[in-house]
Amino acid sequence: MENPVKEYTVTIYTENQIGLLSQITNVFTRHGLSIWSLSAGATSMEGVHNITIVTAGTEKKVKESVQQIEKRVDVIKAFFYTADKIVYRELCLYKVSTAALMEYGNIEDLLNRYHARIVEMNKVFTIIQKTGYSNETASLHDELKDVGVLQFVRSGRIAVSRAEQEPVFKFLRKREKEKNQQTN
């Protein structure tokens, strides 16, 4: 097939403007791309926000959408990557009954195998936290089936590119220089 559908991670850097997130998700809707996961938050740069979206589509469709997103005035930069070009994680929380967990026995071993840990425990329930790829978090969910998972939540993906430096930093430095040149 010429245009295979693949999973892509879209990373978007924006100014902190009200309504921008919905503008961005609108672009996905308009291009018929569904959003598998979304996470948003501030970056280390003052006023710059990061939005990470996981989607699936042909490279052409995803590229078109990313171009339309970058065209929005308050979007600083937008990139899209296949999984091999990024390091990414998702965070999961599992709520299980403390009593059931005690009965299960070899819990240490299970947690070690999955690099998971307990973040809160009381008489009623215990909360286990795990970061990783979705197949790992899903597999832990399977193993906890015997214990019984009362509640399970998964965060959106966050990702960093395998490039040495995010091109957005370079871009912003360049723009800063251009601004000074303009005002001088």
Binding site: G19, K71, I76
Partner: protein
């Protein structure tokens, strides 16, 4: 020292700082503080009171298209704001700079379903280049400066400022600073040397080059650069609908309009050239026909200021992001001078066929009712080909585009990408207000005129001397044509009973001249152009007229119907 004024006054001051002298609008509850302050600014700002907010935005679009300056619209919240939506979407597709200011309820009432509250930011986000809700008086100067900068730079477009009531009445220490930098927005990027080099190599090797250009040439003030480029390369060129008038019609290398109802030669040549150079156009499907068969033999160079357009529809060999003016002058400077006499002469056959089968029968018929093409031809001739031609949408639009001739840029205004019926009349009003010294001729259908006919009131109140040529065929003609050709003549809801236009015009004090037949056309034109007053020319044209040639939907650009029963061979 503090210079405290209200947000409402800050708006007028900021508009003045941006050089605004004309605004189109309509008052209402949530914009009343702004309208109240207008009383103090009436000497320097001319407010045109329209009859419906859609009229305001289309007038602002006409104003912008003719002058190159952003058109300004001021309306109230809720229904006032939703009434401008069609025009915002239209300006977005056709890259027209407009700044729309909508009233909004007080910030405290936002989200409460308050009276006349509409989510203007949410509604207009996907159809505007930028929008912003002004929530305090202190933001007014900043937001207006930014709005104008965004609307007029790069690929122009509509910007919406949603102005909350408390920001209108709140006080601010007014300081205005023009915006000329937004770090996340690069309107006019540096042009890639590599891309220029690659394009020049293609151009120098081309034996059968062809240029298709669009409104980007007009928006980028690149008319002279395009002429120089074509001349040095001896390259023939075709125009999109919105590119019309960027080159004088008599320019020797100009080969006519491309697209569904374009001229035969430039459409056929698109699929025969070896290098296709696209300048400031976006390969709309009305231009390309089926994409799979469009210019497949050619190497494509695409020049556009909007990087998202490059490669969007047509795969390119070389994409050059930049403004048409700079890119064309770089290419002209670096490429070799060439001559392509055989290639240029090969267009002759197409032209001859089109003239014989389409143009002559349309423009010089000897019997039957008047034809649209004939009327357009005579009107344009009567103006010495100097008029601004505005069209509505439909057969009147295609005939207006096909049979007008131009010798000055920014002389053709039409709703291209959205195809908005009702656009024509208010757009013509806006154009005439922007350039009162020019003759403005509107070609409009009996369907479209009734969509915004209330603007006769604006013409009356402002004395706007537009020449309205109603191509009256008693049909929604364009749809009727499709029904005849593609829906087995099943005429579903396209027959229209028309009102007595002379009576309507009279009610508004607009002179109406009725043209029932060929003999009355010339005297009517004489009368119409005798002065600068508004005139409605009600021209009875052939009811079953067809716009030909036609590339039917689903066909390639080289598959051209030359009459309803004959294909171009």
């Amino acid at each position: 020292m503090k210079n405290l004024i209200t947000g409402a006054e800050a708006l007028w001051r900021a508009l003045q700082e941006e050089g605004v002298k004309t605004v189109f609008g309509y008052p209402g509850g949530q914009i009343m503080p702004v309208y109240d302050k207008l009383v103090d600014y009436q000497d320097s700002i001319h407010h045109i009171l329209v009859r419906h907010e859609q009229g305001a935005i289309h007038a602002a679009q006409g104003f912008a298209r003719i002058s190159g300056e952003p058109g300004v619209v001021i309306v109230t919240s809720g229904p006032g704001a939703t009434n401008v939506i069609t025009g915002v979407a239209d300006a977005m597709t056709d890259s027209t700079p407009v700044v729309v200011i909508t009233g909004q309820v007080s910030t405290a009432a936002l989200g409460t379903d308050a009276f006349q509250e509409a989510d203007v930011i949410g509604l207009t986000a996907p159809i505007s280049k930028w929008n912003y809700q002004i929530r305090t008086a202190d933001e007014v100067a900043w937001a207006v400066a930014r709005a104008f900068y965004i609307a007029r730079t790069g690929r122009p477009g509509p910007v919406v400022l949603d102005f909350s009531k408390d920001a209108q009445v709140g006080l601010t220490d007014f300081h205005f600073e023009k915006c000329n930098f937004i770090r996340s927005y690069i309107p006019n990027p540096k042009i890639s040397d590599v891309a220029i080099k690659n394009a020049v190599a293609l151009l120098d090797a081309a034996e059968k080059p062809f240029v298709v250009f669009g409104q980007g040439v007009v928006l980028g003030h690149a008319e002279k650069e395009l002429e120089a480029f074509l001349t040095k390369g001896d390259i023939p060129a075709g125009s999109t609908l919105l590119g019309l008038s960027a080159l004088p019609s008599s320019f020797p290398l100009y080969r006519g309009m491309i697209g569904m109802h374009g001229n035969v030669a430039p459409n056929i040549m698109t699929n025969q050239c070896d290098v296709l150079i696209a300048v400031g156009m976006r390969f709309d499907d009305r231009v390309t026909g089926t994409v799979e068969t469009y210019a497949r033999q050619a190497k494509v160079i695409h020049i556009d200021i909007d990087p998202a357009e490059i490669g969007k529809i047509i795969p390119v060999e070389v994409g050059i992001r930049g403004d048409a003016k700079t890119v064309l002058s770089l290419l002209t400077e670096k490429m070799q001078a060439r001559k392509h006499p055989e290639w240029n002469a090969s267009f002759g056959h197409c032209d001859a066929v089109e003239k014989e089968k389409v143009i002559d029968p349309e423009v010089y018929p000897t019997e039957g009712l008047l034809r649209m093409g004939e009327v357009v031809d005579r009107v344009v001739r009567a103006t010495g080909e100097k008029a601004v031609v505005v069209t509505d949408v439909g057969q009147n639009q295609m005939m207006g585009a096909r049979y007008s001739r131009f010798n000055q840029s920014r002389s053709f205004i039409s709703s291209g990408g959205l195809g908005t019926m009702g656009f024509g009349l208010p757009a013509a009003i806006g154009a005439k207000i922007a350039r009162p010294e020019r003759t403005v001729c509107l070609f409009v259908g009996d369907g479209g005129i009734q969509m915004t006919m209330q603007e006769f009131g604006t013409i009356m109140q402002e004395g706007v001397g537009v020449k309205i040529i109603l191509l009256n065929n008693n049909w929604l003609g364009n749809v009727r044509q499709w029904q005849e050709l593609f829906f087995r003549e099943r005429y579903s809801q396209t027959r229209m009973l028309n009102p007595d236009y002379a009576l309507i015009a009279r009610a508004y004090g607009i002179r109406c001249i009725s043209v029932p037949d060929r003999a009355s056309l010339e005297p009517a034109l004489k009368e119409m152009f005798a002065d600068d007053a508004p005139v409605l020319l009600d021209v009875h044209v052939q009811e079953e007229g067809m716009v030909m040639p036609m590339v039917p939907p689903g066909k390639g650009i080289h598959e051209i119907m030359i009459t309803d029963s004959e294909w171009y061979k």
